[in-house]
């Protein structure tokens, strides 16, 4: 039994057919081909931009758009994303009734608790189809399943059993006094870091919050399947409703680049309010514009406009460290890019509440 406890069961929804799985397998491989040495777009375009000495984003865009290679790269990037959602939605549509019934069956099952707010109205700023996901994060009752399988393709199958979330959570240092009684996972989506925190701190009370009910229902089903006693609650991360100084660790994984600047400030303020003195606010997100190559800056714009990431450029341009510091945090400055992202697109801020 103890050996089996180490094996995280598969919680990914099943596709309607082997054909759908093979199709998505193609998309996963094709995406990897486009991103890496296969098509070699990034290395070639970046070398060209650097040798042309192009610095300003407007000039970078003009340069890439004037290259047939750049145009084709954009076309193919968009196409593989559209193919993924087309195939996923069709596959889930074919089993929509069964998947909805599956969610309903888990809603009231434990361990763990699902707290939805029937009066909740999503704020207008979340009406974005992030990563081109049809219906965005909340408009389809199967949004959580779509998202979870979509990220399977994104992580190229390397996160099917929450491997990445487990790794990132393991990198978060406990507060210096070692006390971890309560953990908050802000914008938990399908709850992969929430359950990873519960595994790391089994005695702690771990809560995941998100505005999206379909995400939270999948999160709860996953946690219950994994046997983890955690709570998922529908609330805004900038207005959580928790008491002051309630949490020892507050966590935010790749959410800040999906928030307008106004909400970034409000969320940091809220994290400062609910994190106790000496507690830790751990943020993983995109690297800043200053750390990007010319092509990466181009890609950030492309991703913003053509892959449903409208807030990501402003996030990369902002100074999250100083926002954290002006809200009562001190930020440890050990760059972990390699370890935290693995692909060099992500970094972290480990902020202690003073």
């Amino acid at each position: 039994m103890s050996a089996q406890r180490e094996v995280v069961p598969e919680t990914m929804p099943t596709l309607a057919s082997r054909t759908d799985a093979a199709y998505l397998d193609f998309v996963e491989g094709f995406r990897e081909y486009l991103l890496g040495a296969g098509a070699n777009f990034e290395a070639r375009l970046n070398a060209a931009l650097e040798s042309a000495g192009v610095q300003d984003l407007e000039d970078i865009r003009r340069y890439v758009h004037a290259q047939p290679l750049g145009q084709l790269r954009d076309r193919l990037s968009r196409t593989q994303q559209e193919m993924k959602w087309h195939a996923l939605r069709r596959s889930f549509d074919l089993q929509r009734k069964e998947l909805a019934a599956e969610l309903a069956a888990w809603d009231a099952r434990g361990p763990g608790r699902l707290v939805l707010d029937p009066a909740f109205v999503p704020p207008p700023y979340v009406n974005v189809h992030f990563h081109l996901q049809p219906g965005g994060y909340y408009k389809d009752e199967l949004s959580g399943f779509l998202y979870h399988y979509g990220t399977k393709v994104f992580f190229r199958g390397g996160n099917d059993r929450d491997e990445l979330h487990g790794k990132l959570v393991s990198l978060v240092p406990p507060p210096s006094d070692g006390r971890v009684a309560r953990v908050l996972d802000m914008a938990c989506s399908v709850g992969q870091s929430t359950t990873a925190f519960k595994k790391r701190y089994p005695a702690a009370e771990v809560t995941g919050i998100d505005y999206s009910a379909p995400m939270l229902r999948v999160a709860h089903r996953r946690a219950a399947m994994l046997g983890e006693d955690v709570t998922f609650a529908q609330t805004l991360i900038e207005r959580t409703g928790f008491p002051d100084a309630h949490f020892d660790i507050t966590f935010a994984f790749i959410v800040f680049h999906e928030l307008p600047l106004r909400i970034i400030h409000e969320t940091v303020r809220e994290a400062a309010r609910v994190t106790r003195k000496g507690g830790l606010f751990a943020v993983f997100d995109f690297t800043s514009t200053a750390d990007k190559s010319p092509f990466q800056r181009y890609h950030r714009w492309f991703d913003a406009r053509h892959n449903g990431e409208p807030y990501s450029q402003d996030f990369c341009d902002c100074d999250l460290r100083s926002i954290l510091e002006s809200n009562g945090f001190t930020v440890a400055g050990t760059p972990l890019d390699e370890r935290s992202g693995g692909a060099g697109y992500m970094t972290h801020w480990f902020a202690t509440r003073v």
Partner: protein
């Protein structure tokens, strides 16, 4: 190349492109590239299935290649094949509907 914005409602940030942006010099080229990628996906799906079936058949000694060549579908099998063909055609050639008219 003119490009519309999406009706989604982000607060500030980078305006999101509306559905079906055109990236290449001619919308027909965009459609052509999409069809080529779609065809590659369909070829892979078929190849994955065929390899799976051949390995299973061989492992179980159930069927020879001559049986496959001689297969004639009955009425319901033929209808199912036609439905599959429609799905295939739609997957590859749906792009034709997305070529915009010149304004």
């Amino acid at each position: 190349m003119s490009e519309r914005d999406s009706p989604q409602t982000p607060e500030g940030g980078t305006p999101i492109a509306a559905a079906d942006p055109v990236y290449l010099a001619d919308p027909v080229l965009d459609a052509t590239v999409r069809m080529v990628v779609e065809l590659a996906a369909q070829v892979w799906v078929e190849r994955e299935r065929r390899i799976t079936i051949e390995q299973l058949l061989e492992a179980r000694g159930l069927l020879s290649r001559a049986d496959i060549e001689a297969f004639k579908p009955d009425a319901s099998q033929a209808a199912a094949l036609k439905a599959e063909r429609s799905r295939f055609l739609e997957d590859v050639f749906k792009e034709l509907r997305r070529i915009p008219l010149k304004s």
